[in-house]
C-alpha cells in the first residue's frame, strides 16, 4: 500500500503529497487498532485458554488479527481518501489522467509485499500446527504430531504425571456423544471428565454417519467418521466446564446433539473415575470389548437392554422407534 502511494507521489505534481497523507493516517490507525486487538480484545478471544490447543488457537487468532487489521485499514483508508479527494467536480466532464509513470514499479512492489505476508503466514501456520501437536485438530488414525514426552505404554491403566497418556474414546451416533475410558475397564459414560494438566488423547469415531466432536472451550475439533479412528490431542490447563457440540450436519437432531464436560483436579478425576467404574461395572460387561472402531450391527441390539434396565449409559443407544420422527 505504502509502495502504491509512494510511486504515485513520485509522479511529481504540484499537489498535496497524497501518499504521505495516506501513510500517516494509516500508521496511526493501524498502530491503535493493533494495540487494541492485542491487549484489550486478545485475552478474551475465543476459544480462550482452557487447554494448550485452545490457547494456541487464541494466539493464532490474535496474530492473524494483528496482521489483518493493518491490511484492511490500508485498503479502507485508501478507498475513503480517494472517495473524498478524487471525486468528480460538478460540471467537470473531462476524463482523469491516463497512464501514469511508475505503474510497473507499484505492481511489482504490491506482488512482493503481499507474497511476503502470505508466505510468512503460511510458515507461521505450519509451525503453529506442528509444534502444539496438531493444534487440537483431528489427525486421523495415524497421527504424526504428538505431545512431547508421552506415549501409550498401557491401555489398561493410567497414572497421572507419567509418560502413559490418558485415552478417551469419543463415540458419536445419531444423536449423542458417549465417552469410553479404555484405561478404566473400558467404561462408557455420557459425561466427559478430564484431569487438569494431563495430556489427553481423544479417539473419535462414529457408529453411523459423519459427526464432528467439537469441545469448544478445549479447542478440540475432530470429525467422527464411521469405521475410522480420528485422533486429536490436547492438555487441559485450567479447571472448569466446557461444551461439546456436534459440528457436522448429521441429520434432523444435529442441532440438539450437545452435552457438557468438565476439567477437574487430578484427585477429583481419580475419585470420579473410580466411582463411575464401579457404578457402571454391570453395564460395562454388556458392552463389546474396547476397540478403535465398531460395527454398529454388533451393538445395536443393546438398545432394548438399556431401555428395559433403565441404565444411565448410552452405548449402542439408537434413536429408536419409541421416539417421534418429528417433535
Amino acid at each position: 500500500m505504502a509502495a502504491a502511494t509512494e510511486a504515485g507521489a513520485a509522479a511529481g505534481r504540484p499537489e498535496p503529497r497524497h501518499g504521505v497523507r495516506i501513510a500517516v493516517i494509516w500508521l496511526v490507525l493501524a498502530v491503535a487498532a493493533d494495540l487494541v486487538i492485542w491487549f484489550v480484545w486478545g485475552p478474551h478471544m475465543p476459544p480462550g485458554n482452557m487447554s494448550t490447543s485452545a490457547a494456541d488457537q487464541q494466539f493464532d487468532f490474535n496474530v492473524l488479527s494483528v496482521i489483518a487489521a493493518p491490511v484492511m485499514l490500508a485498503v479502507f483508508i485508501y478507498f475513503g481518501y480517494a472517495l473524498t479527494m478524487w471525486r468528480q467536480r460538478p460540471g467537470d466532464e473531462e476524463d482523469g489522467p491516463g497512464h501514469l509513470r511508475g505503474e510497473a514499479r507499484v505492481q511489482a512492489a504490491w506482488i512482493i509485499v503481499t507474497s511476503a505476508i502470505v508466505l510468512g503466514l503460511a510458515g507461521f501456520g505450519t509451525y503453529e500446527l506442528i509444534a502444539p501437536a496438531g493444534a487440537g485438530a483431528g489427525e486421523g488414525p495415524q497421527p504424526i504430531w504428538k505431545p512431547a514426552g508421552v506415549n501409550t505404554s498401557s491401555l489398561t491403566s493410567w497414572v497421572p504425571n507419567t509418560k502413559n497418556i490418558l485415552q478417551v474414546q469419543v463415540i458419536a451416533q445419531q444423536w449423542l456423544f458417549t465417552y469410553r475410558y479404555p484405561q478404566f475397564g473400558g467404561m462408557e459414560t455420557t459425561q466427559l471428565e478430564l484431569p487438569v494438566g494431563q495430556p489427553v488423547e481423544f479417539h473419535v469415531t462414529s457408529l453411523d454417519v459423519i459427526h464432528s466432536f467439537w469441545a469448544i472451550q478445549l479447542g478440540v475439533k475432530a470429525d467422527a467418521n464411521p469405521f475410522l479412528d480420528n485422533v486429536a490431542y490436547t492438555t487441559p490447563e485450567h479447571t472448569g466446564g466446557f461444551t461439546v457440540r456436534c459440528d457436522e450436519l448429521c441429520g434432523i437432531w444435529h442441532g440438539a446433539m450437545y452435552n457438557y464436560g468438565s476439567v477437574v483436579p487430578v484427585t477429583a478425576f481419580q475419585s470420579w473415575v473410580k466411582a463411575t467404574e464401579t457404578r457402571l461395572a454391570a453395564l460395562t460387561k454388556t458392552l463389546p470389548p474396547f476397540a478403535l472402531v465398531y460395527t454398529p450391527n454388533e451393538i445395536s441390539g443393546l438398545a432394548k437392554f438399556y431401555y428395559q434396565a433403565g441404565l444411565p449409559g448410552a452405548g449402542g443407544q439408537y434413536y429408536g422407534p419409541q421416539d417421534p420422527e418429528q417433535p
Binding site: A4, W214, D223
Partner: protein
C-alpha cells in the same frame, strides 16, 4: 491472423433457401414452455414406471414406499421430456435426417413469446437467464428469511428441526447451484459476444440447452420438499445422503443437471471467446469482464464433471446398491468428501471471479481512468482459477484425513490470496487521482470491494489450521462465505444490473430507488453478517436449530437485520418492475459514456449485434489517454477483411 478473420466467414447465413426452413405454425403448435411441461409430465410418468419395472425388487423403504430408482428415472426422463417438448432436439433430428435446419441465430425483434421458447439468439437467452436467476435468487432468499425466523429463539421453534433442516438444505443448494450462473448466465451470454465484436455465440444450441436445464433443476430441487426434503445441506455428505429419504434424489438430480448446464455454458463461452473475436480484438484488448468469463468457463468445464461423477456414484449407491461411499461395505466417506470439494472449491471461485470481472469492468468507466494493471488483473484471475484446484482439502482439516498434506494445503490456500489481491491492486491503482463518479453501479462496485475484503481476509483465518480448528463448520465460516458470495458476487451482480440493464433493455432503472437500495442493502448486509463471525467463534455450529441461550441477543440482532436486508431486496424488485414495466424511461445511447464495445451499438442492440463485423482499434479502458483511437470502427470499408485475408494467404 486467421483466427481474427474467421468470424466473418462463419457468420454468413447458411446459404439455404428460406423455403427450405420449417414453416411457421400457430403458436400453440410451436414448441414452447407449454409443450415442454407436457413433455415433462409424460417423461416423468414414463421414468417412474420404468424405475418400478426394472428396480421393483430393491426398493429402499425408509420412510416412504417409493423406489428411489423410480424417482431418479422419473426426474431424468421428465427433464428429457421437458427438453424434447421445448424442441431442443428438433434441429438435431433434422440434421441426422439430412434435412435443412435454421442457422440464423437472431430472433427478429419484438414479442414476449420468444422468451418462452427455445431460441438461438444469445440476447434472448441472456434475458431468459436474467429473469430466471432473479427468480431463483428470490426463492433462495425466502428460505433464508425462514432460517432467520427459526433462529430468533434458542429454544422455542417456529419450524421445528425437520422443516428447518429442509429449509437450510434448500437455501444452501438453491444459492450455490443456481447462483453459479448468476453472472455467466445473464451477463456472460448476453454481453460476451457484444464485447468481443461477434454476431453470435459459437454453439447457440448448447447455450439455450444450458439455460433450459436451469428451470428443470429449479423445479426438481424444490420438489424435494414433497419428499420431506434432504437432511444434508448443500454439501450432500455421504453416508447421511445414503441414509436419507427420496428428497435426496431430487437434490442429486437437480444439482447434477446444473452441473451439466455449467459444463455446456463453459464450453460455449470458451469457444466463443477464442474463435469469435472481431479483427483487432487481441488478447491484450479483451475486456477484463470477458477475461473473468473465460477463466470461470475453464473452472466450470474442469470442475463440474467431478460433481456430476460424484452425484452419479451417490445415485447408484442409493438406487442400485453400489457401495462407493458406504464404509462397512468397503466404500469411503472420504471419497465423497474429496470428490465434492474438488468441485466445491473451484465452485466458490466460479461464484467469485465473475464478481471480480464486473467490478473491474465498471471501475475505469466511473473513475475515468485506464484500468490499472490490466495484465496483472487478468493474470490474477488465471492464478485464482488454477490455484483453486489445489486447495480443496482445507475443507477437511479436521476430518481425520492424512495430516501430512495439511501444511501443503495451508500454503496453497494462503497463496491464493495473492492473485485475489490483484483485484484490489487494480482498483486502488485506478482510483489514484481519478475523477470518481458515484453512480449506482459504482456504489455497488465499491460495496463489493468493501465486503469482499472482509470475506477474503476472514478466509486467511480459515486457512490457518489452528484458527480453523475453532472456526471450521461454525457460523464463522458461514459469515465468511456469505461475505464473499452475497457481499461480493451479489453486490457485483447488482452493479452489473444497474450498469448493463439500459444496454439490454433500452430502459434505465430509477436512480433514487437504486441509491436507496444500495444503502439499505449495504448497511443491513453488514449488520446481518458481521455478528456471525462472533457467533461462530463463541461456539455456534452451522445448521443448528438450537443454540446456547447467551447467544440469543446477537442472533435476534442478526435476524432483524436479515429481514431488513430482505426488505432492501424488495426495493430492488420494486425498482425493476417500476422502471421496466411502468415508468419505462428510455435510455438508448451510452449513458455512462463508456468505451466498451458493447456500448458503441444502440441499446438494446440490433438483432444482428453489428451490421458489419467491427474492426477493433484500441483497448476498452483508454480513458484520459492522449490521442487514444476510438475503440472500434463499426463500419469498416467493405472488403477490408477479405483483402486482409487474401494478403495474409490464409484463404480457406
Amino acid at each position: 491472423m486467421a483466427i481474427e478473420i474467421q468470424p466473418e466467414r462463419l457468420q454468413e447465413p447458411g446459404g439455404r433457401e428460406p423455403s427450405d426452413l420449417p414453416r411457421t405454425r400457430p403458436w400453440w403448435a410451436r414448441p414452447a414452455v407449454h409443450t415442454g411441461l407436457l413433455g415433462a409430465v409424460i417423461g416423468y410418468l414414463f421414468g417412474h414406471w420404468l424405475g418400478n419395472f426394472i428396480g421393483g425388487g430393491y426398493r429402499q423403504a425408509v420412510l416412504g414406499d417409493q423406489n428411489d430408482l423410480a424417482i431418479v428415472l422419473g426426474y431424468v426422463f421428465g427433464t428429457i421430456g421437458w427438453l424434447a417438448g421445448l424442441g431442443i432436439f428438433n434441429d438435431l433430428g433434422r440434421f441426422l435426417a439430412g434435412k435443412p435446419f435454421p442457422e440464423v441465430t437472431h430472433e427478429p425483434a419484438g414479442g414476449l413469446a420468444r422468451y418462452f421458447r427455445f431460441t438461438l439468439d444469445h440476447k434472448v437467452v441472456g434475458i431468459q437467464y436474467l429473469v430466471g436467476m432473479i427468480i431463483y435468487f428470490l426463492t433462495g432468499g425466502l428460505f433464508a428469511m425462514a432460517i432467520r425466523t427459526e433462529l430468533l429463539s434458542p429454544a422455542s421453534h417456529v419450524l421445528g428441526p425437520g422443516v428447518y433442516l429442509e429449509v437450510v438444505g434448500e437455501h444452501g443448494t438453491m444459492m450455490m447451484m443456481m447462483m453459479s450462473s448468476v453472472v455467466l448466465g445473464p451477463f456472460g451470454q448476453y454481453l460476451a459476444p457484444l464485447m468481443i465484436g461477434s454476431k453470435r455465440m459459437a454453439f447457440p444450441r448448447l447455450e439455450a440447452l444450458g439455460f433450459w436445464l436451469t428451470p428443470a433443476a429449479f423445479v426438481i430441487l424444490l420438489s424435494a420438499v414433497l419428499w420431506g426434503g434432504f437432511p444434508t445441506g448443500w454439501t450432500g455428505y455421504a453416508d447421511l445422503s445414503v441414509q436419507a429419504t427420496q428428497g435426496m434424489d431430487a437434490y442429486l438430480v437437480a444439482f447434477g443437471l446444473m452441473g451439466i448446464s455449467m459444463i455446456l455454458a463453459g464450453f460455449n463461452i470458451i469457444a466463443t471467446i477464442i474463435c469469435y473475436r472481431a479483427p483487432g480484438m487481441r488478447w491484450s484488448r479483451l475486456p477484463i469482464f470477458v477475461w473473468s468469463m473465460f477463466t470461470v468457463s475453464f473452472l466450470q468445464v474442469l470442475a463440474a464433471p467431478v460433481l456430476v461423477a460424484g452425484f452419479y456414484m451417490t445415485i447408484t449407491d442409493r438406487t442400485v446398491q453400489t457401495a462407493f461411499f458406504t464404509p462397512d461395505l468397503g466404500g469411503s466417506t472420504y471419497l465423497y468428501e474429496d470428490l465434492f470439494w474438488f468441485f466445491g472449491h473451484p465452485e466458490v471461485y466460479i461464484l467469485a471471479l465473475p464478481g471480480f470481472g464486473i467490478v473491474s469492468e465498471i471501475l475505469p468507466v466511473f473513475c475515468r481512468r485506464p484500468l490499472f494493471g490490466y495484465k496483472v488483473g487478468a493474470a490474477g484471475m488465471f492464478g485464482v482459477a488454477i490455484l483453486s484446484f489445489f486447495v480443496w482439502q482445507h475443507h477437511l482439516f479436521d476430518s481425520g484425513i492424512d495430516p501430512d498434506m495439511r501444511p501443503l494445503f495451508m500454503l496453497t490456500t494462503e497463496l491464493i490470496s495473492i492473485p485475489t489481491g490483484f483485484i484490489y491492486l487494480t482498483a486502488m491503482g485506478t482510483f489514484w487521482k481519478a475523477k470518481i463518479r458515484l453512480t449506482v453501479p459504482m456504489l455497488f462496485a465499491l460495496g463489493m470491494y468493501f465486503n469482499f475484503l472482509i470475506g477474503g481476509i476472514s478466509g486467511v483465518f480459515l486457512s490457518d489450521v489452528p484458527a480453523d480448528t475453532t472456526a471450521h463448520g461454525s457460523f464463522f465460516v458461514m459469515a465468511h462465505f456469505h461475505y464473499t458470495i452475497m457481499g461480493g458476487l451479489m453486490f457485483a451482480f447488482m452493479a452489473g444490473l444497474y450498469y448493463w440493464l439500459p444496454k439490454m433493455t433500452g430502459i434505465r432503472l430509477n436512480e433514487r430507488l437504486g441509491k436507496i437500495q444500495f444503502w439499505t442493502m449495504f448497511i443491513f448486509f453488514n449488520s446481518t453478517f458481521l455478528p456471525l463471525f462472533a457467533l461462530g467463534n463463541m461456539g455456534m455450529p452451522r445448521r443448528v436449530f438450537e443454540y446456547a441461550r447467551n447467544l440469543q441477543t446477537l442472533n435476534d440482532w442478526v435476524s432483524v437485520s436479515a429481514f431488513c436486508l430482505g426488505g432492501s431486496i424488495l426495493i430492488f424488485l420494486i425498482n425493476v418492475v417500476w422502471s421496466t414495466v411502468i415508468a419505462r424511461v428510455p435510455e438508448t445511447g451510452n449513458p455512462w459514456n463508456s468505451r466498451g464495445l458493447e456500448w458503441q451499438v444502440s441499446s438494446p442492440p440490433p438483432p444482428e449485434n453489428f451490421a458489419r463485423i467491427p474492426v477493433v482499434l484500441s483497448g476498452p479502458y483508454e480513458y484520459g489517454v492522449k490521442n487514444a483511437l476510438p475503440v472500434a470502427d463499426l463500419n469498416p470499408p467493405p472488403g477490408l477483411i477479405a483483402s486482409a485475408l487474401a494478403s495474409s494467404g490464409t484463404e480457406a
